[in-house]
Subunit: 258 residues, 2 copies
């Protein structure tokens, strides 16, 4: 029997999309990406995956907050003073949270309205406007991903999966890794359960979070200071799917660490 | 001022190393990789990074256990019976642990002797010999990575960073992602702290776990059923370093989730 398509070892490429310029509220992220691709003389091809850091999506969706309009609560002020943080950012982080998961030594880990568990509810002042504003996560990143996918299809006739990413910390391991917060047009997982390895052993627990691995690959290609907030991944045989990034969130009752 | 080398957006490639065949105890992983590269007509170049799944390293280092020689403890037998698991694998997982972090609903999360927090201490029966043996993690994966790096340098004159990887689950998110358990010849992190973004905002918390992101990229390229247990990553401007993967392990006192 032929190996199924998603088993094959395949060469992959991550090509950063450069020269996108500043994204403003109301801009179409799809159009911005396509214009940059044209300038770069890079043509999207069937099978490509477009990965976009959430920050430009949030900016386009006007999910930014002027910090001088934020009135931090007394509790946020106390916490911020104790750890030398910006009380307005602390206040926004708590405000954007459905639940505070841990709060210790200046670190606030929250569960966001979407269900993501991350530091500061994803609120961040970097790569915005020099510290005057903070960016929130998109209200519905799966919907944002679908809109970008549709926008690209409309203009090019090509259907590419779209991933929207952010950088999250992890327990037990130092450093941030990119993760997916929005998915359109592909399965976020590659499921090997029940399949047999080349030795005939039946795999039990092998579900690979390929969307998050693609996010990591894009993060390496884009960097954080390079004004390259999106990239094209070429060569990865993903499977079509409609689940969205919400399916990556582990339900509380299956989670040993809430 | 020129952007520093590790800021630039750069095109990346992950090229799977195919046709490696079975690795036996005592084999040189470096020689096995180089022989496969020759057959594939792929030449290592300065700047390449070689990523190897730990399984072939463990096999070469004879870190396998015949399951019919394992005498599970009564506690392991009870736990296994309750969740329909193989008591011998449960026994090995507990035996390889420095500490059990969580044990619930058939899932055992442990801290290994190295300090990694993962399911079943990394003990795994897939991709070995059809279920007769289990593979343990290498005793010192950073040393294993250094040996492979030295072996490659000796035969080719080229110094490439070497990463050794495994698939770990994560709290809060479904699915496995590749992580690095051994690093030689590069810094596992890209540290943006104190740097300014294009808007002049000084970054505070941005330390990117690039070794783990490279592991993810390699995982996408290699797959799990394809007999491609290693790959070459080309184009990523990593920084030289001697820290090893142990530096990725977050010290207990800095960890909010132990």
């Amino acid at each position: 029997m032929m190996a199924r398509r998603h088993d094959k070892a395949t060469e992959l490429r991550a090509i950063p999309i450069t020269g996108m310029g500043e994204v403003l509220p109301g801009d179409s992220v799809a159009d911005t990406i396509l214009a940059a691709l044209r300038r770069q003389k890079l043509k999207l091809m069937p099978g490509d995956i477009v990965v976009v850091t959430h920050k430009i999506v949030s900016k386009a969706e006007a999910r930014t907050v002027m910090l001088d309009r934020v009135q931090p609560s007394p509790a946020s002020r106390r916490w911020a003073a104790r750890y030398r943080l910006d009380a307005r950012l602390v206040h926004l982080a708590v405000q954007q949270a459905k639940r505070v998961v841990r709060r210790r030594r200046g670190v606030i880990i929250t569960e966001t309205a979407h269900g993501f568990v991350c530091a500061n509810s994803g609120v961040d002042a970097s790569n915005v406007d020099g510290g005057r504003s903070a960016v929130l996560l998109p209200a519905d990143p799966d919907r944002s991903a679908r809109e970008i996918r549709l926008g690209i299809r409309k203009k090019t006739g090509i259907s590419v999966p779209v991933l929207i990413t952010d950088s999250f910390g992890r327990p037990w391991r130092e450093g941030l890794c990119e993760v997916t917060i929005g998915v359109a047009g592909m399965k976020p997982f590659r499921d090997f359960r029940g399949r047999r390895d080349p030795h005939g052993y039946r795999l039990r627990a092998s579900v690979e979070a390929v969307a998050d691995e693609l996010a990591c690959m894009a993060g390496l290609a884009c960097g954080k200071l390079s004004r390259s907030p999106a990239c094209v991944i070429r060569g990865f045989p993903c499977e079509p799917g409609r689940e969205g990034a919400r399916s990556i969130i582990r339900p509380g009752k299956r989670d040993l660490f809430r």
